[in-house]
Each structure stands twice: as C-alpha cells, then as structure tokens.
Amino acid sequence: MTYKLNPDRQTLGNELRSVFVDTLDELMSQNPKIIALEADLGSASGFSNLVKQHDKQLLNVGISEANMMGVASGLSLVGYQPFCHTFAPFATRRAFDQLFISGGYAQTTLNIFGSDPGFTVGPNGGTHTSWEDIALMRMIPNSIVCDPADGVQLAWLIKALAKEKGIHYIRANRKAVRQVYEVGATFEIGKGNILKQGHHVAIVAAGQLVSEALDTAEKLSDMGIDATVIDMFSIKPLDDSLITSLSKAHTHVVSIENHSVNNGLGSAIADVIAENGLNIKLLKIGVNERFGQVGSPDYLQNEFGLSANKILAKLLNFLA
C-alpha cells in the first residue's frame, strides 16, 4: 500500500464510468483474454466508446442480466476474464442465482461492476436503487466485495482483480466523485486505509462517503474531537485486525455506508466487534428499512441521512 491523500479534497476526479472504460481499454490492449460485457447500458457506462478499439473483446448481450452472468461464466470456463457492467440492482438482485450458482458455486471468474448504487442512482428512482447489493454479494462464499472511494482506487481495483480468479463485485457511481487519493496510489484488498489518525471515535466509511467521513472529521476537529478516519473499501475480505486494533485507542466506532445497515459494512464491523468481545460502541449509519425513491443524488443523499450534516448530527448524538 502506497497511497497519499489528494491535498484538495474538493476536486472532482474523472467520471468513474470513464475510469472503468479507460482501465478496461488499457487491460484489453495488454490481454486479449479480457472480455467486457454489457446489458444494453453501453451508452450509460461508456462501454460504447470501446467498440472501435476492441470489438472482438466486447459483448452486448442485450437486456438480459441473468444471461450476461451465465455467458460470462461460460467465457471464464474457456480461459477468459470477463468484466460485466450493469446498474447495481440489476447486477446483483436480478441476477443473484446466476451469480451464486454459475459464478460462485461453480467457481468461475466473474468481475462485476454494479454502477450507481444507493443514492447515486438519482432520478431513475426506487426501482433502480440498490441498498442491498453489498449484502447479497457478501453472502456468496469466497467473494470479494469492494466499494471504492474514488477513481484512483477504482482503476487500481479493476487492474488488481483482473489478475485474480473468483467472483468480484465493485460498486461505484458512474459520475465524477471527489478525488480522495493522489494518482499512483496503491492499495491492498482486505486492508483498510487509515486516512487520518485520531482517538476517541473512529469513522469507518466506504465508497464516495469516505469524502464525507473526512469532512465530518474536520468538523469534529473544530469541536475539539479528534477522529480517526478509515477507508474500508474492501468490505469483503474485511480488515478484521484493523477493526480490532481500533478498540484499543477508541471508545466509539461509526460506520458510514451508502447501503442498508443490514448486512453491509456496518454489519461486517459489528460481527468483528461481537465475535472478539471488543470494548467499543458502534453506530451504523446507513439506510434503515426503507426502499429507494426518486430525486437528485443530492436530494436522496440528504433524504436517506447520508449527507455530511446528517452524518455529523447522528455522530454527535452518538458521542453525547
């Protein structure tokens, strides 16, 4: 792991769909065994831009997500490394048995990019909202589940997972998000990144909410509360030892995720705390027993309690 924080945390990076496509472009040029699959969202993902350069390594299966996962499984059985994209709920909820049986159980290799998870879905509304994709993917034995903080981490993840066999799920916004890391950063799957070392409270976040976690820590600092901030992009495998070590210097831990509080990052942390009898209080910030609804991403982020102000309020209440 060699990462540095981007000094200007307000800077937006490249659109994540561009990061996804550009990274695949680079990988495909190096490796003819990499195949990108789409389910008629090529113009949404930017996949269409790949067609000219790599038409033999691209498959648009049409609006058939279950079929896409099966085709990808078959491709992997004859030596290919498939990368499938569709929106997060269709990549997971809709095609779950295919992921589970044709993928996980049969031990094929599937790299899945589920885009626009949680509030990032924006105006596509409740039907297109996924608050449960991490929960589903965690349930597949030996799966890897990641929620990258920014484009630097997303690009690194795609390259890292392209070298691995197994079932891998990455979720991310398609649009630009604030850039947490400097270009060139490297990470380690299964290891959380300590972005700010403090004490008293540890904030463990994933995905683009890592930026909110850093913002929150800054505000806490102004109030005289010194918080640790951790980017737990690797939700499975989880960095259990880091969670364990937090209990030595902190009395409180807060998880923040763009996901249901059931069986996502917060639950994974809760398991570690409970199973190891750690003396630390946990607050899980996420979505609680609600379906999605329509609105802009900003509206939804606030509506579902995941905006910086709402996070801060919950956190202060927890610390009080």
Binding site: V61, G62, A66, G74, V78, G79, D97, Q98, I101, S102
Partner: protein, 294 residues
C-alpha cells in the same frame, strides 16, 4: 469402400452398446438409490449415446483437454444418465455410479464440474446452463477453436425465461458451433407441460428466434446422428434439434406411468418392473446395424 462400410457398422454397434450401457447403468444407479429422476434421464439416453459414442471429440484420459468438445446438461436433473455415460466412456471408475447422492460423493444429484471428471458445467438451477453454453461457445470461437458445444435443455426447462435470453444471444451471435438439443418429452415435474405452461410449437419458436431447427425422433440413433451432421454443415446460423422423446423412454412400464419425473421404487410392482427392465437390458445382445448404418 470396404473400410468405410466396416467403420460405419462398427460405429453403429458402438453407439448401440453405449446406449444400452447408459440405460442399464442409470437404472441400476436409481435402483441402488431407491428413487430418482428416471423420466428425464431416460429420455436423453439415445442423444448421449450418439454424442459420446460418435459425435464428440473427447479424451477420457484427459478430461480437461483444451481442444475437446463441451457438453452442457442444462437439465441437470438428468445427471444420472450423464454420469452413466461418462463412466462408460472411462472418465471415472464405474463404481462411483453407486455412490449417487451419498454424503460426500463425487456424484451429486445435479452435475458439478468441480467434482466430476468430464462435466464441463455446473447445472441444476434450470435455465442457467443455456447461458453458460453460450459463453463457452463464444469463448471457443473467439479463441479460434473449432470445438463444438452441445447444449441439452429440457422442454419443461423452457419455462425458465433465461433459456430464451440465451437463445436470443446464440441466434444473434450465430454460434454455429453451439448445437442446442431440446429434450421434448412433454412432461415436467407436476405433469404434462401442455397442462402447466403450454410450450406451443417449440420448433417454430426456435425458428422465429433465428435457429435452423430440425425435429427428430428422440429414440432414433440414426436420425439424431444425421440431424447433428446436417447442422454441423450449416454456416452462419444458430442450430437446434428438437428431440421428440418420451419420459422414461425405453422402459415401457415407466413410460406409461403417469407420474414418472422422479420415481420412488417403493412398491413391489415398481421394484419388479425396474428389475425386469434391468434384466432385459443386461441380457440384450447388441448386434444391430441392418437399418441403422450411422
């Protein structure tokens, strides 16, 4: 010329013997277990005999040979018939067959590619094998291989929407080397498909999806072989064969049984009839050849 005729007769005898051996071993496996998917296993015995006895490029000593043809048994509940086939082809020891469904066995009820030499895809959750076969065929074509992928789908399995997703894909991609076989035995677990979800005309449906489709008697070795050869000669089109089969095919008493998807051999009559079929198969002399030079 003599060489060719001699080869043809020998080939037919091989297939005929394999057919009887698959049927016999499958029935013995089910007898040993006391129950099982006799209906859908029996209805693909002839198909398996033609594929493994004549059509497929395989090497049982090198099950994962890269140049091999693949077979995806999407109707995974017919696993026992596939296992009997693979054992007779020498992929694994014959005595494995009598561990079917036992705890820790290499032979689970439905095919598992990680446990069974010669099984190319894990199937059993119906519909999923169709897409896997499509992916295998796509990959083989992309890698420049001329190997075939044989996909066996049940007519009841066609209830699953994923089959039609995969068929659209196979037809659109013109996967000439993915040969789709539909085991049209007209029944599924709860009864006749016509009473549960009518399939209408499967051949016409496949043709409307863009498949060149042939319909043949599913117990006719020569017809299956001829149709396969004919479709292998086609270029630029997806191909399919609808096999007109009978559930529990080749075992008259169980063919006529109303509920014959999965049978429990727990009555004296069933046990006697099963034993009778086994005895007849075991005693059969496979001479054949007069009307069936493959």
């Amino acid at each position: 010329m003599i060489m060719k005729e001699s080869k043809a007769v020998a080939s037919y005898e091989t297939v005929l013997k394999l057919r009887d051996a698959i049927r016999l071993d499958t029935l013995k496996m089910l007898q040993h277990m006391g129950y099982g998917h006799i209906g859908g296993s029996m209805s693909i015995v002839e198909l398996l005999a033609v594929l493994y006895g004549k059509q497929m490029r395989i090497d049982s000593q090198v099950p994962d040979w890269a140049e091999r043809d693949r077979l995806v048994l999407s109707k995974g509940h017919a696993g026992p018939a596939l296992y009997a086939t693979l054992a007779n082809k020498g992929f694994f020891p014959h005595d494995w067959l009598f561990t079917l469904n036992e705890g820790g066995t290499n032979l689970p009820s439905h095919p598992d590619r990680l446990k069974i030499p010669g099984v190319d895809a894990t199937t059993g959750s119906l519909g999923q094998g169709t897409s896997i076969a499509a992916g295998i065929a796509t990959g083989l074509r992309l890698s420049g291989s001329d190997a075939y992928t044989y996909l066996i789908v049940g007519d009841g399995e066609l209830n699953e929407g994923q089959c039609w997703e995969a068929f659209q894909f196979i037809a659109h991609q013109k996967l000439t080397h993915c040969i789709v076989f539909i085991d049209d035995n007209k029944k599924q677990l709860d009864g006749y498909t016509a009473d549960i979800i009518n399939q209408f005309d499967i051949q016409k449906k496949l043709e409307s999806f863009g498949f060149m489709t042939l319909k043949v008697k599913g117990n006719d070795l020569k017809a299956i072989d001829d149709a396969t050869n004919f479709l292998k000669d086609q270029e630029d089109t997806a191909v399919a064969i609808v096999l007109d089969t009978v559930k529990s095919q080749g075992v008259p008493f169980f063919e006529n049984l109303h509920d014959n998807h999965s049978v429990k051999f727990n009555t004296e009559r069933y046990q006697l009839e099963l034993q009778k079929a086994i005895d007849e198969l075991a005693a059969r002399v496979t001479i054949g050849g007069e009307n069936h030079d493959l």
